[in-house]
Symmetry: C3
Subunit: 222 residues, 3 copies
Amino acid sequence: MIQQLFNPSVQHTLDLVGIFVFAISGALLAVRKNFDVFGIAVLAEVTALGGGLLRDVVIGAVPPAAFTDLGYFVTPLFAALLVFFLHPEVERIQAGVNVFDAAGLGLFCVTGTVKAYDYGLGLTASAALGLATAVGGGVLRDVLANEVPSLLRWDRDLYAVPAIVGSALVVLCIRYDVLNPFTSGFAVVTAFVLRLLAMRFHWRAPRAWHRRSTAREDESAG
Amino acid sequence: MIQQLFNPSVQHTLDLVGIFVFAISGALLAVRKNFDVFGIAVLAEVTALGGGLLRDVVIGAVPPAAFTDLGYFVTPLFAALLVFFLHPEVERIQAGVNVFDAAGLGLFCVTGTVKAYDYGLGLTASAALGLATAVGGGVLRDVLANEVPSLLRWDRDLYAVPAIVGSALVVLCIRYDVLNPFTSGFAVVTAFVLRLLAMRFHWRAPRAWHRRSTAREDESAG
Amino acid sequence: MIQQLFNPSVQHTLDLVGIFVFAISGALLAVRKNFDVFGIAVLAEVTALGGGLLRDVVIGAVPPAAFTDLGYFVTPLFAALLVFFLHPEVERIQAGVNVFDAAGLGLFCVTGTVKAYDYGLGLTASAALGLATAVGGGVLRDVLANEVPSLLRWDRDLYAVPAIVGSALVVLCIRYDVLNPFTSGFAVVTAFVLRLLAMRFHWRAPRAWHRRSTAREDESAG
């Protein structure tokens, strides 16, 4: 049982911050898609809680934390309200939102990996579920908004790789029995910084070979 | 244990009616999308059973009722057949279908909330899952049909709000210990009537502030 | 307990082959949609493991086999790498891939049905889940790629029907107590051959009556 990496109240606060910023990204997309106030709230909830919900259903941790902790449920509603009333201001600080989103990504890939391992999964499976925890909410967000998940698109800065690195660091720490608040904090920070660098320098992953010249850039025509 | 609000056979009949009308809405969309007969059956099943399936997986009630009660599974197939052979006639009575759909909405938000509470969830979480039970099938229907979920669109009459009110009434009744067939029946009827009024008077929810003037109305251009 | 129909290592090898070819189909769609290398890997994993994951979550077999057997997880990554480097060659042998995909379809509808029955579901529900196991990954693949699931489209050769026949044969065998490696092998082969015939002769399912003349053929305009 290694779940309490951090002081419980510190962990809980970090979780709420991550949930809040993920919810902001969902609510902003909802505004861009012209959804009404309930659509904004639904997309905020799904984006913020979807990854953890997916993980908990898969590992059999039901009812999922999203439904047992009132703070987890209410936080996205605050984010939705904020965006509803102040979305031009929130969009103007998009860069700041992206920094928080990177923090959420780093945090959730680590806590997701640890929770999956705690429920008896193997190291590789735990890392995969940590990744799913970190990116699952965003994928559900894009599916509900009827868009190609930004995770999968080649023309977006690296998003999965920082989470993969974070999850991999955690399973390495577990493997060599050195997982503690410092090493897991290091994994969080590594994923966070990698994501910031990817945004700053527009790091992208390669597409399939021979594809670059022939592909139509406009995938909506596909 | 408060699950048997109504006489079991009454409850079961109501469930089947709700499942049937939800399935009709799925099958009609499938016809409009030009799906074949199996696509019609799949969309009918998913629309009718998706919300309850989601709820049961989340609360850990597996295998879900959708897979243990043969009537739940077969009813959408009848709806699919009916629409397959008679869809112009069914579309002509769309107004009637909408009334039944409103009844299904009212019924499922109430029974979904009660079942979630029975499985140990808190009041807020139970209401949220009741809402998910009522609207989840329709969201899955629209996702599979590759459309923006009509639940999220600002240009559709209120759909979530009646279900939220119904679920909220149920948790208030639970909170004050007055849940019985009469009060829960009242919650069903309230959600039902609110949905009918929303359709009759085209009640809509607001979009984000400043958005009304600048948004392109055609979201498919988004 | 009837799960071990075949010699365990034979069964496992067959599973891996099915997973591999399903992953190829996901990876090829990802290349066509112009996804980057991580998008290719994600779509390969989801296509290959999604159907079984869905089944295991519904029947309560958590953590799902996809997360407890390392081979299940790693095989789609090999398929993704292969397509990433050699996709023109893989597309050229598309016909061969389709044959393997048909084999995966036949195999998974049978093993999915048997596993669902083993977990206590009724015969009809087991057949339905067997079908979901066989086609679920492909539906998730198309939803993530933001396309109308090819399963639902009338202009694609029959895909669900062979799986339905295979699942139905299995539940008939269970019902009459004659399920054994030979009869279940016969069900696999029947589904496999039906799918091959459907591709060879372009068998299609009918759309709703009156629809053929009036429907716009271009559903993307819908």
